[in-house]
């Protein structure tokens, strides 16, 4: 498969993509106030933080859940943790509030720590309700199946 020449669509995408990357890089290197070194430093920091810290943490959490959580509720916990994690990452700059200045009362006006806790509570209430609803629905279905199997003739 590797020996086959690439389809034309692929070469077209490579050419267009390389052109756009080169245009962006040229802009970064030449534009006023773009600071390419600070750009490279921050990009490297983000990649290391993502691939070297956040991702291993998530994989380890996932492995722990599989080990300690019973099968029935595992999916709900995984969902809840994913939503909570992304919400916390979004809220972090607001909760830290480094962007606040004394002369701008309207910038970051809320108590974001409390807001985050309330939103997280709402998420887990929703997760609990979904899990509970599914549990009840399954019990009712199983109950019906059992009673009809007992009452009626076997197929």
């Amino acid at each position: 498969m590797n020996e086959q020449p690439l389809p034309r669509a692929r070469w077209a995408l490579y050419a267009a993509g390389t052109g756009l990357v080169a245009y962006g890089a040229y802009g970064l290197l030449t534009a006023n106030r773009s600071a390419p070194l600070a750009w490279a430093r921050f990009a490297a920091l983000l990649v290391v933080a993502n691939d070297g810290v956040l991702a291993p943490l998530v994989v380890a959490t996932g492995a722990t859940i599989v080990r300690i959580m019973p099968g029935g509720s595992r999916a709900y916990v995984q969902s809840g943790l994913f939503i909570s994690g992304t919400l916390i990452l979004l809220a972090l700059p607001f909760v830290l509030g480094f962007g606040r200045t004394s002369d701008l009362q309207s910038a970051l006006p809320l108590d974001y720590g409390t807001g985050l806790l309330v939103t997280l509570a709402a998420v887990w209430l929703g997760i609990g309700a979904a899990a509970g609803g599914r549990h009840i629905a399954r019990r009712r279905r199983d109950g019906n199946a059992t009673s009809s199997a007992n009452d009626g003739p076997l197929p």
Partner: protein, 405 residues
């Protein structure tokens, strides 16, 4: 399907790219590099392809709305932006920021789905593989940079050591370019991954964990929660439940947010000076005190302030029509007009009004806001307010109006 080019440059290039590189010693293959190091059965081509499709749409929306915003603020000669519909920029920029926020769960889900590929063994099979991995690194780095700097900008947290708008604009080109390269490299995988019908998957309860559909649903739910938690900064009725919105449309002086205060802009004394005069430079030069401006025919309009940071808020403005002032000064109605602030410096000290904006009857030099005299932070003695325009171009503390050179 598509016939490849004959033997020639591309064939030789292809041969060069596929020449095997020496393999690293096998004892290095440990930890995450070991075969079977990542156990989750949830990862699949199909999951990656769907997340990639959603991300592609999100990046496309951010790119196009971002280019629009950039074009309005720094227009190339061929670019023209209308003054109507009044709320158009509110929609495009609100969408830009909301879609950017939505990229957080999308990107993280995608990174999780492809994380084992980071530990591919051998790290580079051949030159082509190495180039393709380097291109992927460019995509990952630029995507992370765009989303993180975008969110930090809405939190006004400038800890990255470069000027946000310039870097966010140029990195967007890099991210979109790297995305096209990635799509090119993954064409076959994408075709397989998005093919219908989907392969069957085990029942979620019996298997115990999330299914592909369950995971995609979770990503959708995370986007929903993030959107509800923040969209109140753009859509006012949602404000009471948007507990993480960086702005409230009704919080600020005179019930309206501000992005640059009079103190921050260094204009307090100049704006309060009783000798203040607005100068309109045209064939007839006008020099007007605040009282002179107040004597002119007053108009009242409802227009939003729409920030590039995504928040927006409606307000009722009263003041003089800009086109009346320009006509009184004899300025050519087809000329671009420059509005200059009392601010001694700063990137947004000046803005340009193209004819569609300054001829619009809604475009005012406002003296009043929500029934009271304009607050110092909102641009007292007078400010520009025009429809369908970013807030940074709604120049405050206006001192001078003239034809653009």
């Amino acid at each position: 399907m598509v016939r490849g080019p004959g033997p020639g440059v591309t064939a030789r290039l292809s041969a060069l790219l596929h020449r095997p590189l020496p393999a690293p010693p096998p004892w290095l293959r440990r930890g995450p590099f070991a075969a079977g190091a990542f156990g989750s059965r949830l990862r699949s081509e199909r999951l990656s392809a769907w997340l990639g499709l959603w991300l592609g749409v999100a990046f496309g929306v951010c790119f196009v709305t971002g280019l629009i915003s950039h074009g309005i603020q720094d227009p190339p000669s061929w670019f023209s932006w209308p003054s109507r519909p009044v709320h158009l920029y509110q929609v495009t920029q609100g969408l830009h920021v909301a879609t950017g926020y939505a990229c957080i769960p999308l990107l993280l889900a995608k990174f999780w789905a492809i994380y084992p590929k980071l530990f591919t063994w051998p790290p580079a099979r051949d030159l082509g593989h190495a180039v393709s991995r380097a291109a992927l690194l460019v995509l990952v780095a630029s995507a992370l940079l765009q989303v993180v700097t975008g969110v930090m900008n809405t939190a006004r947290w400038y800890a990255f050591g470069f000027f946000f708008t310039v870097v966010h604009y140029w990195t967007a080109w890099i991210a979109i370019g790297a995305l096209l390269i990635h799509v090119g490299a993954q064409l076959a995988v994408i075709r397989r991954g998005l093919a219908r019908p989907a392969p069957p998957e085990p029942d979620p309860v019996t298997a115990g964990g999330l299914t592909r559909r369950g995971f995609l649903g979770t990503v959708g739910a995370a986007i929903g929660v993030i959107t509800v938690a923040t969209l109140g900064q753009t859509v006012a009725p949602l404000a009471p439940i948007s507990l993480l919105a960086p702005r409230r449309p009704d919080v600020g002086p005179q019930g309206l947010p501000v992005n640059r205060s009079a103190v921050g802009a260094g204009v307090v004394d100049a704006a309060r000076d009783p000798d203040y005069r607005l100068v309109v430079v045209g064939p007839r030069r006008l020099e007007m005190s605040l009282a002179d401006l107040a004597d002119l025919t007053a108009h009242t309009v409802d227009l939003p302030i729409t920030c590039v940071e995504g928040w927006s808020a409606m307000a009722t403005w009263s003041g003089v029509r800009v086109r009346d002032l320009l006509d009184a000064a004899g300025i050519d109605p087809d000329a671009d007009v420059q509005v200059t602030s009392l601010q001694p410096d700063g990137l947004y000290r000046r803005s340009t009004l193209a004819p569609p904006q300054h001829r619009d009857p809604l475009t005012l030099l406002a003296l009043g806001l929500n029934g009271a005299t304009l607050d110092l932070d909102h641009g007292y003695p007078c400010r520009l307010i025009a429809p369908n325009r970013p807030g940074v171009l709604q120049t405050k503390w206006v001192a001078r109006i003239e034809v653009s050179r």
